[in-house]
Amino acid sequence: MKTDYQTIQVEIRDNVAVFTMNNPPVNQLSEHFVVELAGAIGEAFEDDEVKALVLTGTGGNFIAGADITQIKDVKTKDELLPMMKENTRFLNSIETGPKPVVAAINGNCLGGGLEIAMCCHYRAVAKGINLGQPEVQIGLIPGAGGTQRLPRLIGLRYALEMITIGKPIKAEVAFQRGLVDEVTDPDKLVDAAVKAAGRFVSGELNLKARATRNRHYWIPSAAEKKAMMDFTKAMMAAQAKGYIAPFKAVEAIDKGFSYDIDADLEREADLFADCAISDVAKNLIGIFLSTRAAGRLPRIEGLEPAKIKKVAMLGGGVMGSGIVSLLLKGGFEAVLWDISEDAIEKGVGSVRKTFEYPIKKRKMKQADLDNMLENQLTTTSSLEDLKGVDLIIEAVLEDMKVKQDIWKQLEGICRPDVIFATNTSALPITEMASILKDPGRMIGLHFFNPAHRMMLLEIICAGKTSDQTLATSVSFARNIKKIPIVVNDGPGFYVSRQLGGLLGGAVYLSADGVDGAAIETAMLDFGMPMGPATLSDLTGIDIGYHVSKTFEKRLGERYKVHPLTEAIYQTGCYGRKTGAGYFDYSGDQPVPNPKVVAVVQNYLKEYNVSPKQMSQEEIIDTLLALGINEAALMIEEGICDRPQDMDLAMIYGTGFPPYRGGILRYADKWGIKNVYEKLVALEEQYGLRFKPADLIKEMAGSGKTFYPE
């Protein structure tokens, strides 16, 4: 047979054609590659010398799935279905072909990769490799047989779990469940596969019986299927609200997984196409792509980040201990500094606490933690001891003078290239840096609580932060597995101010007679993890009040604190930490706090406002309009300029519903003209706070969108 392929290296061993696929970067199923693969398989089927085939890949991937940037641009099902039909035919030709095809799974076997592997007649896999159908995570379902072949191999329960949640499983688990036939050392993989191929040739293994489509034993009885699907649907209705793909995947399995696999595959393709053209998929694919690209800024392109090995953490409070935990997990040497032995001891205790969960779940051993602390962590109350570190992250008292004092001292102790990062959430970083000889070394690294769990790291460039400082900080963020979003200095930076803008409309609605519970429900139904009142109670009404005051002071008239906010603050009920805020937490279930209720009632009475029924849509429109306006204002002010980063920050930092794509994708979908008109109406009703940003006005006029069309 022909052996000179561009993307496939062909070697014949003992009458077995070993195909090593090499289509950089990840063996993705690009058009050219699929054509070559189909051609090569066809030739091997024809060649009498070849008795069996082995498919394996190079690098970290067996085969990656389809190119999702292609799917992103698909507008209609008709564009997609012929392509999918062709692909189904190709996969079926492997499964029902005349010769055994053995998959030697050398690396990640996800999405389309697993779907091809499941068409093979035998699967050998290297230890520790991940296998899965993660399509739902980008709003799609497996569209090349995954929903049909996976349950035929591992049964309904596990297949539903893998397909609707999208989490991959390890080779060893895959073996236990029957998804793969053999797990080997990576260097023995191809030999094992060739040997397995030989077992077909000798007649020991039966080609037909091993084809996935001919395995019927996992097909449940009608009664079992109904019970399982009813259960799954009920669970998903609660957990996957707003998403489409998990429901389509369940539909594919519910209507499919029958004795007629060809009809099942056709149905699956159609359901895949439904997903592919949905807004939710476009949103999720967009998020996936921008997550991958986060931190890749033109400003730092080509700069070599400095190597960070040793990091000092100033302050062992909630944030500090969470960050130390991250550093340890990331393999860094960490130095925890605090003002006293007591404070240090407390800090180390908190660090230990962050590992309680993984230890309980047996993801790590107590001894591992002890070793980690022993080998990687030192503590000190002397700034002098921080001499040898490469990066300092500060999370001490939120007081400009205290912070500046510390930085000033450190400037005299540390090497000039050491980065000074502050985790302040409110203080102006440009001002903080102003006392340094080289303000270029200072940057804001704004972690979110709990630091060891939240995926976002907001990186704040102060006025004089150097490109090198930024480049190293972005690289550091990636190394501690965070998603870096870079913004400029300003009150509340991006995330806090954006969230304040998104939820800040609530008080205007309350003051207009709208029931607080209706606002909570509306935001929950919109997909936010909690409503404005619940969130305020969690973060502290006093904290929110002080932030608002800062905004008022620094940003001017538009941000004047609402009198109702003042009145609520004056109750002294600051939320969960004081036992009551908007809600009273003394009972089993939070109930509206009578004190706050009374304050609102009095306010309404005083201003002669009567209770108002407002539709959920109107509540959402009001809050979102203000949120979008805030985003536009921040773009105008130069806080940020990349919509994709702003959307990511809200999704990873505040739980903004991913299926909505983020606040600016939502704005584009809603239509900027509609946003503008809504704001104009709201300004008339509620005043200056809602005055449309110039940018919104201009975009409404020109028809421009935040994301390029």
Partner: protein, 403 residues
């Protein structure tokens, strides 16, 4: 020793299983345990007992792996929502499983350790196919040494585990011809079709509404493998199914089937007290081991033992139900025990009606009891050959129950 009677008998239709083309099995979307659980409340109602009165539940099944694993017999009880006070056992004597259930129930009641026993059988040969496919999946893992170690060579496991080859071997040691078997196969289909036509089996089949492969619903109330239009030429023209130069074809073997069967046994005393009219009284049981490579010979010594225990001769038996795992098994029995063929399998046999392995014993005994009642016979003997080299037999007597 107490006398034990059959108070009731009910089964599902026996559908035709096709492990490689499941959609054609009318029961493809029902599991065996679901079929059995459908029968359970109906058979006790038919027998006139309440679930609470049952002392033991015995489930026969030849392939108790994958979805036929029954948690020791408790799962069908759970599926039927029967009381948790009923004990259960899962019984595997291969093709003798359900008959073994009858025999154990008989002994429990006779020895007064139980008074009312529910016996069930289940086998779904589409959803849990016999042999190779289960071995491929690792659901059945025979000990390799039996096949490889010279000290076990005499067992000839390759033949012992292939029923068709054991039938070839049995045929080879008889004087029967291929044509004799073909004629018997044709007779089986014709008699079964006649019985079907007259509605004979309606008295023992519980119609079940079953979802079909295409999603439509169908009431399944007829044995699917019976072919009234069979011809001798048709049967004779079939190719050997198990070896190239063999004689055993699909036409003279039982098909693969899915079905469940059930029977209520109780002491005669209790039947009388409750005013229940039994179908028959169990008189004797027999079981015997034979060369596993000629397992089809098993019914002969098993039946002889049962006859001896009852003090009867073969000629005393009015009707026989001999399981036609293969036609040659029935023919061999006729020859060796000296039977009148016209008294054997008078409503057709397993070739036509089917043979859902572990469920068959109840079908044979129950059908036989109904034949005695319908044709006015006194003694009947049901027997079956058993994979692995055994035979089982049960002798029943129809009496005048004057209460």
């Amino acid at each position: 020793m107490k006398e034990v009677v059959i108070a009731g008998y009910l089964r599902t239709a026996q559908t035709r299983s096709r492990p490689n083309d499941p959609a054609r099995d009318w029961f493809c979307k029902m599991r065996a345990d679901e079929l059995l659980a459908k029968l359970m409340p109906e058979v006790i109602k038919k027998s006139g007992v309440e679930p609470e009165e049952i002392d033991d539940f015995l489930v026969g099944c030849a392939t108790g792996v994958s979805e036929q694993w029954a948690y020791g017999g408790r799962n069908p009880l759970f599926l039927a929502n029967f009381p948790d006070t009923i004990a259960a056992k899962f019984i595997d004597q291969q093709c003798g499983s359900a008959m073994a259930g009858i025999q154990i129930g008989f002994m429990e009641i006779a020895q007064e350790f139980a008074d009312i026993v529910l016996v069930g059988g289940m086998e779904h040969m589409t959803r849990v196919p016999m042999g190779g496919p289960l071995i491929d999946r690792g659901a059945i893992v025979p000990n390799m040494t039996l096949f490889l170690d010279p000290k076990y060579r005499h067992w000839d496991m390759m033949t012992a585990m292939n029923m068709g080859l054991t039938a070839e071997k049995l045929f080879a040691q008889t004087d029967y011809t291929k044509e004799d078997m073909d004629k018997w196969g044709l007779r089986s289909h014709q008699l079964a079709a006649q019985a079907q036509g007259k509605g004979y089996f309606d008295g023992e089949i519980l119609p079940i509404e079953a979802e079909q492969a295409d999603g439509s619903m169908m009431v399944v109330d007829k044995d699917q493998a019976v072919r009234g239009d069979s011809t001798l030429e048709g049967i004779a023209s079939l190719k050997p199914a198990f070896k190239k130069d063999g004689v055993i074809t699909a036409g003279i073997s039982s098909p693969l089937n899915a079905a469940a069967t059930s029977m209520v046994l109780m002491s005669k005393e209790t039947a009388k007290k409750k005013g229940i009219k039994p179908l028959a009284t169990i008189r004797s049981i027999g079981f015997a081991g034979v060369d596993p490579t000629i397992m089809g010979a098993g019914p002969v010594p098993a039946s002889q033992k049962a006859l001896d225990k009852a003090g009867l001769k073969a000629s005393d038996i009015d009707f026989w139900e001999i399981n036609e795992a293969f036609c040659i098994v029935a023919l061999n029995c006729i020859k060796e025990l000296g039977l009148d063929p016209d008294r054997v399998n008078v409503m057709g046999g397993g070739t036509a009606i089917g043979h859902p392995l572990g469920a068959t014993g109840i079908r044979l005994t129950g059908t036989l009891a109904r034949i005695l009642n319908q044709k006015g016979g006194r003694y009947g003997c049901a027997n079956a050959c058993v994979g692995g080299g055994q035979g089982v037999a049960t002798i029943i007597e129809r009496e005048e129950y004057d209460w």
